[in-house]
């Protein structure tokens, strides 16, 4: 079972990955966006770890809802409300159980991903976060490791796609040939989950 502390460690691991990859995210965003994805995510996840450290929530759902709220209020770009909605809706779907099974997390993440799709009006193949998150949520039913692989493959698969949402869509065909920054950071979030699961042996 995954308790609040597990979810706290997941968010901490995500913050560390975002921090390590911030320059890469910004470089990807410079090619087809406005070159602020790395710094925006860095600011957002720094706020998440600070808020979680100040008053650690007692349930998995509460950890994700607090993290989501922080992202919406601090990121400053479209990824704020999108990631905020992802974490908040996933957290809400987990309810107030003190610990949840990996299968419950898989189901809740599916709810969160659907909320992201609804908020942004995007679907699979539009070259967005969803291209990493949809396969990851699907594979999470199997294991954390498969979810990580699915998310990373999904992010890579955005390279030949033409963007149909967000600022990159204004580029039309010129968006082809670049990996989507949002799908890339989504894969980091799922990689952080797999790392956290592997560290305490709950990922199988």
């Amino acid at each position: 079972m995954l308790d609040a502390d597990f979810f706290h460690r997941w968010m901490t691991a995500a913050a560390a990955l975002v921090s390590r990859e911030a320059d890469h995210l910004t470089d990807l965003d410079a090619a087809i966006g406005d070159a602020d994805h790395g710094s925006n995510m860095l600011r957002g996840f720094a706020a998440v770890t600070a808020a979680l450290g100040k008053e650690p929530p007692q349930t998995p759902g509460a950890v994700l809802m607090l993290a989501g709220r922080q992202l919406i209020s601090t990121v400053g770009g479209a990824s704020g409300p999108l990631y905020g909605t992802l974490l908040r809706r996933t957290g809400k779907a987990l309810g107030d159980a003190p610990a949840v099974a990996p299968e419950q997390l898989a189901e809740a993440l599916g709810v969160g991903v659907a909320a992201v799709a609804q908020l942004g009006g995007a679907q699979a193949g539009d070259k967005t976060m969803l291209d990493a998150l949809l396969p990851a949520a699907e594979a999470l039913g199997t294991s954390f490791g498969s979810a990580r692989e699915a998310a990373e493959a999904g992010a890579l698969a955005t390279v030949p796609m033409q963007a149909r949402k967000g600022r990159a869509s204004y580029l039309g065909e010129r968006s082809i040939g670049h990996q989507d920054p949002g799908a890339t950071s989504s894969a980091l979030l799922i990689a952080a989950l797999a790392e956290t699961g592997a560290a305490d042996g709950s990922g199988a």
């Binding site: 209020s73 400053g76 770009g77 479209a78 704020g80 409300p81 905020g84 908020l119 967000g166």
Partner: protein
């Protein structure tokens, strides 16, 4: 009319100067005298480009007189931030709504209508109608 209370208008832009200027323009075109309350929420608190949920919440509270708050938005994160704040339920005053309208023309229509005492539905309709105005 809603017993003398006026609808508040919040203009949310990716840029602080854009939000401020459109607010000035809309108030200026709403004819002489007092207008309905209008607040700008543009850019980040540090003055950069982007959207701030805090600035939006603060702006909405500042114009809320109990008759509803109409939020007009421009691009990307402005749209998504307001939508996600409305979905949360407690970050914006009761009666707040996102109005689907062109930013500049919609803001003028909304401020004129709210200043004349129109209720939130009338303000929303006037702002959305601005989409009908073709330039060619």
């Amino acid at each position: 009319m809603s017993d003398g209370k006026q609808v508040g208008i919040v203009l949310v832009s990716h840029s602080g100067p854009v939000a401020e200027s459109v607010a000035e323009l809309a108030k200026g075109l709403a004819a002489g005298g007092a207008t309905a309350p209008v607040a700008a929420a543009g850019g980040t608190p540090a003055g950069g480009l982007g959207t701030s949920a805090e600035l939006i919440a603060e702006a909405a509270r500042s114009v809320d007189g109990g008759a509803g708050v109409a939020l007009l938005v421009d691009l990307g994160s402005a749209v998504l931030t307001v939508k996600s704040m409305l979905a949360e339920g407690d970050e914006l005053p009761d009666g707040s709504r996102l109005v689907d309208a062109p930013f500049v023309e919609g803001a003028v229509a909304a401020v004129v209508t709210a200043s004349a005492g129109g209720d939130i539905a009338a303000v929303e309709a006037a702002a959305s109608e601005a989409y009908e105005y073709r330039k060619l």
